[in-house]
């Protein structure tokens, strides 16, 4: 059974690239374009791992992360935060809120795949 990955980002071209990348590695994918959408999809799709953008309309990635962690149904899902904001405080904040990893954009596709695999192993 293939692993499920939820891609959350409001930037269409990034979504396209991540979707393509994950499918190529054999993951099952779903896409959400804002915070509310992400929470909905996380419940419906029950992903094993979420690639979560921080800067999004409606709900930020931090809020989504926090909400996921407080809901028992999703508390154990792996979360990798993806963001164009690379400041130390934001990295610390993401990890403190329960993210498993924090990746800054632009990222190396190879490294990202390795990171996802290591978290799903």
């Amino acid at each position: 059974m293939s692993r499920r990955i939820l891609i959350v980002d409001d930037e269409p071209n990034i979504v396209i690239s991540l979707e393509f990348l994950m499918k190529k590695e054999g993951f099952e994918t779903a896409v959400a374009v804002d915070g509310d959408d992400a929470l909905r999809k996380a419940a419906e799709f029950a992903p094993d791992l979420i690639l979560l953008d921080v800067m999004m309309p409606k709900k930020s990635g931090f809020e989504v992360c926090q909400a996921l962690r407080t809901d028992p149904a999703t508390a154990s899902v792996k979360i990798i935060m993806l963001t164009a904001k690379g400041r130390e405080t934001e990295v610390a904040k993401g990890l403190a809120l329960g993210a498993d990893a924090y990746v800054t954009k632009p990222f190396s596709t190879k490294d990202l795949v390795l990171l996802i695999k290591s978290h799903l192993a």
Binding site: E11, N13, V33, K105, K110
Partner: protein, 918 residues
């Protein structure tokens, strides 16, 4: 038997014995073994209070008003028994400041004022001269009565005897000579006269014993004891009446007044001050005197009433003046030796008073009246004369002679107008005027020189008007109508019923008015200003007591070389040298030459001089040699100046501190602004980097995927490449817009300003955007455009604004059904351009927000494909451009009507246009 020569001889023998005692006491004093340094002598010398007024007058007053003579002695008794602390303080202060007289005391207390010293002297002389006249009268009368023994004949009216047959004249001359001998044989630095005090103590014994002898003789010699006298008196209603006082408020009032008056007199009469304060050897003597002196007063009054009653009984039918009973009763019973003794007793009472009083007055006249005047007359060259001690002695001797001369004159001209007691009370009332300034000066620091001057003057004037002038009028020197009808016939100004005040005897009346005015003015005027520096210093010395004496009076210094000759000039070189040597010894130095030129030495010299010439004059003299200016007016002004400088400085500091606070606040604000700007810059950079990273992320991801898998199928590959290209374009546009905005914001942008036709801008912009609109199937239409609308602007920048607004409209206009309208209209002053779409509209809350950097309208962002394209910098840039040309750019929007971006620019009129183009 008792011929005149016997009496005269006895008198001279008595005076000779007194002088011998004085001489001996002086010798003992010079040898350092003081005869008078014991409490008994001090208490006895205080007995100088009892003059012939007591010796003869008490009986007279007892005859007139029963026990009405008593208050005169109750006052001093109360003073010593209850108010000893006032005396202690007075003596302590006087010793610390080498006070020489009551005038010196007042002058010194109020800033060493010469004027004040002079005023006190004048009041004292004017007030006391009648009292001296009284003594002359008593001696001369008693002499006349005694010399007519065995007849008892009342003396002729004074003034009716030819001048050179008038015994009073000779009495005055003899007393003057004796006083000069007693008081001015040499100048003493402390103005103490040990010999005189010893003589006065002896005189007190003589007069007491004489009076007691007369009393005992009358009570047990003539009658059979006191009970017998009273029983006999009781039998005669006319006499019995005198044993009680009239039971009326006025009588009690008079009692109160007399107690009050005599209390002050015992403290403030020049002779009392002299004996009690100046001549006091040791302050501890006072503790014995507080009961010994009242005891003395008690004893000398013991037989007053019996003698008075016996006299009344014996001389029924009148003809004998009650004032003479003490003398005439022994005469009537042929006791010639007793009578002679009584006469000597009366003489001792008179001489004691006259000697001490005139010495005290002469010191005041010399130190506080004559010397200050002479020192002010540069013509006399006193300031440079080498030895002034002789001059000082001469002045005092003349003063003694003149004062006694005045006393005789008063006796001769006015002495018969009043009974003895009344004259004494006039004097008492005069010196009572010193009470507010002296007692106030001892206990209230607020008193000033002006207040003291005003108070004394007011009191003195009222005393003169209500008591002295009426006494003149009664003597016939002034029209009697003055008393009856008041000055100028004004009823309210009647001197003995001033302002209609009636029901009081004349003494009480005068005292009420004069002391009321005195005290009121003293306090009132003193309160007008704060004491100046010198007054405040003296106030501290007087009110604060001896422990405050350490306060330096001089800020400058002078050496022995200056001060010793100065002191020598006034008190004699040898005495000065002795005093300086003593001072050096006290300071633990070996000799005069070791004395340093310091403040302490100056103070010592001033105090030494004060003992000889009074504090006010001493200050002036010392000021002439002290190198630095003394605490004169200039000095006070300087100090005030310093104070105001300090105040000014303080206010400057305060101002500076306020400025500093203000500057700090400004800095803090600026700092906060900087922090804000820094945070904004941080945010901006963070946002910019975010905006740059986003397209880069896509570019990198697709590039890596293409690189990794070269076998990606063609359709996929071209799709990826297309994304890479468009994201690259986006990135480029972003970078150039950021740079553009930075340039605009920093003012470094280059502008080509010219007259621009708005219609051309609209058509250029719409043409360049036409393809994009067609691609999205949105219609674009130039609605209205008035021809000839011109503005002053940069044409390319205006096109940039239009393109921005059009792409914005295109972005939000729905594909297919979208409709964008453009128009331009002109008013008199401006050109108004709008770009309107039929998109979702901008919520009111966002209408300003969208002009912020990187804020994009998010209305359609929930649909992935409608994610707004663009950088979020177009609107901020457009606004910058429009505002640069003094226009405005804003948005009008409602969900139904879509969005309208509007900008205005100042319109160029035709004339301007022409001129610009020419």
């Amino acid at each position: 038997m008792l011929q005149g020569w016997v009496i005269v001889f006895a008198s001279f023998v008595y005076l000779g014995v007194l002088f011998a005692i004085a001489w001996y006491a002086d010798r003992r004093a010079d040898a350092g073994r003081s005869l008078i340094s014991n409490p008994l002598v001090y208490a006895l010398s205080l007995g100088v209070y009892c003059t012939t007024w007591t010796f003869y007058g008490s009986v007279g007053r007892a005859v007139a008003s029963g026990i009405g003579y008593l208050p005169i002695y109750l006052g001093p008794t109360l003073l010593f028994a209850l108010a000893g602390f006032v005396l202690v303080k007075m003596i302590r202060v006087a010793k610390a400041n080498r006070i020489t007289s009551i005038a010196d005391f007042v002058a010194s207390r109020y800033g060493k004022s010469q004027v004040l010293g002079g005023l006190v002297t004048v009041i004292a002389v004017v007030g006391v001269v009648p009292y001296i006249a009284l003594q002359l009268k008593a001696v001369s009368n008693s002499f006349a009565i005694l010399s007519s023994y065995p007849e008892i004949v009342m003396p002729a009216m004074s003034g009716t005897i030819p001048l050179f047959q008038d015994s009073a004249l000779y009495v005055a001359m003899i007393l003057a000579a004796f006083t000069i001998l007693f008081g001015t044989r040499h100048l003493d630095a402390t103005e103490r006269h040990e010999g005189m005090v010893a003589a006065i103590a002896v005189e007190s014994i003589v007069k007491l014993v004489a009076f007691l002898a007369a009393g005992i003789f009358v009570v047990w010699g003539v009658h059979e004891g006191i009970g017998d006298i009273f029983a006999q008196a009781d039998a005669v209603p006319e006499i019995a009446r005198r044993l009680t006082t009239a039971d009326s408020p006025a009588t009690y009032g008079t009692w109160g007044t007399l107690v009050f008056l005599s209390l002050f007199a015992a403290l403030l009469l020049p002779r009392q001050f002299q004996i009690a304060v100046v001549e006091n050897v040791d302050i501890s003597h006072l503790s014995r005197a507080v009961w010994m002196f009242p005891l003395y007063l008690f004893l000398i009054n013991l037989f007053v009433l019996p003698v008075a009653l016996a006299g009344l009984l014996h001389f029924q039918g009148g003809g004998v003046d009650a004032d003479t009973f003490v003398l005439t009763l022994p005469m009537a019973h042929q006791q010639e030796m007793l009578a002679l003794f009584v006469f000597i007793g009366g003489l001792s009472a008179a001489t004691g008073m006259v000697i001490v009083e005139t010495i005290a007055l002469s010191t005041m006249v010399c130190n506080d009246l004559v010397m200050p005047l002479l020192l002010r007359m540069p013509i006399l060259g006193l300031a440079t004369r080498s030895d002034l001690s002789g001059l000082l002695l001469a002045i005092r001797r003349w003063a003694i002679a003149i004062i006694l001369g005045l006393g005789y004159l008063y006796f001769r001209m006015a002495g018969e107008a009043y009974a003895l007691v009344s004259i004494g009370l006039i004097s008492f009332a005069a010196v009572a005027q010193f009470a507010p300034v002296v007692i106030g000066g001892l206990f209230w620091k607020g008193g000033t020189r002006d207040g003291a001057l005003a108070g004394l003057t007011a009191g003195f004037v009222l005393w003169t008007y209500t008591l002295l002038l009426p006494s003149f009028a009664k003597s016939g020197w002034m029209p009697a109508g003055f008393i009856e009808h008041g000055l100028f016939g004004i009823d309210l100004l009647r001197p003995q019923h001033l302002l209609g005040l009636t029901g009081l005897d004349e003494i009480t009346h005068s005292l009420v008015w004069s002391l009321l005015a005195n005290l009121g003015t003293y306090i009132g005027v003193s309160l007008l200003r704060a004491p100046n520096l010198r007054e405040a210093r003296q106030a501290t010395l007087f009110v604060g007591g001896a422990e405050a004496a350490g306060i330096p009076g001089w800020r400058g210094s002078a050496g022995v070389a200056d001060l010793l000759p100065l002191a020598g000039r006034f008190i004699g070189f040898e005495r000065a040298q002795e005093a300086f040597a003593r001072h050096a010894h006290e300071r633990g130095l070996r000799g005069i030459e070791e004395l340093p030129a310091d403040t302490r030495l100056v103070n010592f010299a001033e105090t030494l001089l004060a003992g000889a010439i009074g504090s006010a004059s001493a200050r002036v003299m010392v000021a002439s040699v002290v190198t630095e200016e003394p605490l004169g007016i200039d000095e006070v002004m300087n100090i005030l100046d310093e104070a105001s400088q300090v105040r000014r400085y303080a206010s400057e500091v305060e101002q500076k501190s306020a400025e500093l606070t203000r500057a700090t606040a400004e800095l803090r604000e600026a700092n906060a602004q900087l922090r804000q700007l820094d945070r904004m810059k941080d945010d901006f950079i963070s946002t910019v980097s975010h905006e740059l990273r986003t397209p880069l992320t896509s570019i990198r991801a697709f590039s890596e995927m293409l690189q990794e898998d070269p076998k990606t199928d063609l359709a996929q590959r071209s799709r990826f490449l297309g994304i890479i290209v468009s994201e690259s374009i986006r990135l480029t546009r972003l970078i150039s817009q950021i740079l553009d905005l930075a340039k605009l914001e920093s003012g470094r942008a280059e502008w080509t300003v010219e007259s621009v036709d708005v219609g051309e801008v609209l058509s250029d912009a719409t043409e360049s955007m036409a393809v994009l609109f067609t691609e999205k199937r949105v219609t674009l239409e130039i609605e209205t455009c008035e021809p000839g609308l011109a503005v002053q602007a940069d044409c390319d920048r205006l096109i940039q604004v239009m393109v921005n607004l059009l792409s914005n409209a295109l972005k939000f206009a729905p594909a297919g059904s979208g409709h964008v309208k453009v128009g331009a209209r002109g008013t008199a002053n401006e050109v108004r351009v709008h770009v309107t779409d039929n998109g979702p509209g901008v919520p009111l809350a966002d209408q300003e927000l969208i002009f912020d950097k990187f804020r994009q309208g998010a209305g359609t962002a929930d649909v992935l494909t409608d994610k707004p394209q663009g950088t979020g910098l177009g609107l901020p840039i457009s606004r910058q451009i429009i505002e640069y040309f003094h226009g405005r750019l804003w948005v009008e929007s409602s969900p139904a009507a879509g969005t309208s971006f509007v900008f205005t620019l100042p319109r160029l009129t035709g004339d301007n246009d022409a001129s610009k183009n020419s």
